[in-house]
Symmetry: C3
Subunit: 384 residues, 3 copies
């Protein structure tokens, strides 16, 4: 698709001039127009299959690559979207490998835009954005979207509308006996240096699940997960990102309504409590949305809002950063596989939040603060 | 295929000894024998398909990877050869993604060797070679062969033999408001440093087209394109590589003749004209060739020649570097899909040109200057 | 599969305390549990096909990628497992590209565990392990498993049970005329610097073959190969890794027996003999094993042992490092394509050998020496 993004920063002090001589420097905008991909569905290509083993048992595999069809730069270099082997039967499904985190499903299933493109759920955008600057995700959680080395279990169908899944992912780090058998790095207790790359010993683990109920027009699901984002063997700290969310949709026929509530917390556990512990950082958000079928087309609309709680231990009251987003789009289906679509969206930031609809980052200096980001997508979706 | 390359450098002063005591140091050769791939057709693997949307409309996709089947090192890591989605109808075809540049087609279609292997069109070799040393292409043009983020339009069939295409490719760089909203780097006017990786603001854009006529034994086409190879926001300069070429072939049955004329210019545009502007560099070339069918086989022959015009502002006359190439080959078809082939070729360089048939670079020191490069390919082509 | 590895190091001096005050520091273990792949068969995905050319001739291709289905990190980025084009006929098969080294076949065919997973043949593990520490393989041999740029010939079927193959692989390095046309680097004779990356001129070459006889329950094969692992143009040295092995299996029906003998030597050839030449390093090993079919399952067992001969020129006798391995496993076939399996294995090291069953390396300090490594795999194999 062709996408346009504009990130507008405004004068930090414009609203409250510091002196009568204050000159409002107005706003600065960085914009970009791109032939992008994945604005309606994520571009993907893969292989999958199932084998009937008899006796109600079946085995299956699913390998799926993300691809960038605008420039061809990413082919089938990895199966990062999904890479699983399954054993299925009356007991449900055991699934091994790399798969979506259970906690991600509510962010995409109950978003009219499926957490994709300029219109995507702001809860999802904030989870993928590092609020303290730099690269990375909220809390450094590498398992927000998908989890590697996971063992998953899915409830079987036919439970009167109830469905559910549970996932445990191995961190695959080395374990050490006490004593000198410590990870690489300098052991502060003994001063002894163990050579080698400094290793993680707990980070990477994920445990979570999702339970839902779908019957007739109603679909509702609750999910919880905890992901170990980082750890320090010698300091005895472990950083977890804990996610809880609840989503629901109800299809009235002429309109389908969507809603989601989400809370994500980054917490640091200490083996030995310090005088001043790192405060938790919270990210709370909600989304309301609707889709309206119009002949072969579909109107999509959503409003989503997030609020950071930094829990900073300062004397002065620091207002919490917040951001909200309005998204509106239309999809025109030419066939089951091919569709034309267009989306417009706008994010408003306050108190230091710096979320965008995609595209270039804000100009964020002592003079200018992030304010609004707007953009549009239009393009063709072709599934094969 | 098995390929052998030899690059021979000769004594710079051999022809005009500087003194009676001059000792001709003769020549030095660097050679290499390799199990190579892509000496007859480029090795490739991909996925493609078309969907009939009814009403004369169709949608399609084409994903094609370059692969190196001699060592398996390159699999489907990227779809760099072609990665497009199309919408087709009576109006022609709209094609989005990564595709061949219109200006490349004449270099390959009117070359009996298809711009591949040791026999490839010297115009194509020179466009892919940096004449000032180092890596890269002529003028630093990254869009010589293929162009990413492009929007293409193709004329429909059935225009009495006329065919044509037009392509526009987005540079996808950030745009900036005036004032402090400048790209990363030091703004020389304000002395202000904007942090971040120094960004391009125009480089990457391509606009071009090709118009042709094919009827009976005749096929003739004209192409023109302009590619923005580099830019500097603060200096206000933009480097474009402009290509114009004309090719034709005529099939007499017992022999098919080929010809091409090409002119490529690297030019620098200045927002503010400097006292001494960087002169343009030109690359002019032509090719004449022929193929002769012999039973299930095909004899292929070509002569191609290029001349650089450096437009250097020196008092002394500097002769223009030139190079010429003779290529001869034979293809023996075992079936539609499988063929044995052999090619020999030789490039002669004068006045500092350093083009090869492939393989190792010349030894180019104060003593030795590049002179001739020769090589052969023989192998099997198997399409699947 | 889920795999667990534990590498245990013991007190170096525990057996011979240096003084009455000696305190035995016991042992230290590093362990890891992982959702792994490729513990029964290597995970792979690829493309292959054959074309009948008539007259008994056929052409074929085979492109096969290693994939990591536990984390999806490796997709079809390369066809490193196999990437070949073949021409087949009554004369046998000519195969070009990247393929298994003939000398590797005996290490895998006559191992009940197929040189895969925690139970793999210790001869194979030792060939893939650098005994002098650091990364790399025994003797730096990059061609132990597979060889790029190879030209292979296979005997045709129907030779009364005899089968065989021969392989030659081109090193693809540049060749140089004498004189100043030397590779990049400083020529010690002239002091002249040739710019560019320091090049290899011989390393990468492989020549080898395998001849066998299979009839009824008996299968026996002999292989020999020489791989050029490294070279230094100016010093005039060439390092070769020479492998000779003999394997056999005999199927009694209720039990199938396996055996292998192997000798690998790293030797350095000098253009000019030095006063003190680098001594050869040898690796000798053997394996005995058995498989017992039990209904739809198969019990697998093997004992393998390797011994290094460092040929060190020291006055004191240095005992040769040795290691031995016991492997036991069971495979339960759910269908032709799907199987459950479990394997346990244990490696014992003596005199400085540091081989593992996989997983983390030993803690190897002045206090602790590598001793035993143990592990297990259990999982599901699904072929598609």
């Amino acid at each position: 698709s062709v996408s346009h993004y504009a990130s507008k920063s405004e004068d930090r002090n414009a609203a409250t001039p510091a002196s009568p001589f204050y000159v409002n420097q107005g706003s600065r905008t960085v914009s970009r127009t791109a032939l992008s991909n994945s604005a309606y569905n994520n571009s993907r290509l893969g292989f999958r299959g199932t084998e009937d083993l008899g006796g109600g048992l079946a085995a299956g595999f699913w390998l799926e690559s993300p691809i960038t069809n605008d420039d061809g730069a990413t082919g089938l270099a990895n199966f990062g979207r999904r890479s699983t082997v399954s054993l299925m039967g009356g007991f449900g499904e055991i699934r091994l490998g790399r798969d979506f985190a259970p906690t991600f499903w509510n962010d995409t299933v109950y978003d009219p835009f499926g957490a994709v493109g300029v219109g995507a759920n702001l809860i999802s955008s904030a989870s993928l954005f590092n609020p303290t600057g730099g690269a990375g995700t909220f809390g450094g959680n590498a398992n927000y979207l998908r989890v590697s080395n996971s063992i998953g279990y899915f409830l079987p169908a036919g439970l009167s509308g109830f469905y559910g899944q549970f996932m445990y992912a191995l961190h695959e780090n080395d374990s050490y006996d006490p004593g000198t058998a410590t990870p690489p790095g300098v052991n502060p207790l003994t001063g002894q240096l163990n050579s080698g790359a400094v290793a993680r010993t707990r980070a990477g683990r994920y445990v979570g699940g999702r339970l839902g109920y779908a019957s007739g027009p109603l679909d509702i699901a609750l999910a919880y997960g905890s992901s170990t984002a980082a750890d320090d063997y010698f300091a005895g700290t472990t950083d977890d990102v804990r996610t809880a969310n609840l989503g629901a949709s109800y299809d009235f026929g002429f309109v389908k309504l969507f809603g989601e509530l989400s809370r994500v917390s980054r917490t640091r556990d200490y083996a030995v409590s310090p005088l001043i512990a790192l405060p938790d950082t919270d990210l709370k958000g909600y989304l309301i949305g609707a889709t309206v079928p119009v002949g072969p087309g579909l109107i999509r609309a959503a409003y989503s809002r997030v609020k950071y709680d930094l829990n900073a231990a300062t004397l002065a009251a620091v207002p919490d950063p917040t951001a909200s987003k309005v998204s509106l789009g239309y999809v025109h289906n030419l066939s089951k596989r091919t569709a034309l679509y267009a989306t417009v969206a706008r994010v408003s930031n306050r108190n230091g939040a710096a979320l965008t609809v995609g595209g270039p980052a804000f100009i964020s200096t002592s003079v200018f603060a992030p304010r609004t980001s707007s953009g549009y997508d239009f393009g063709i979706r072709h599934a094969f």
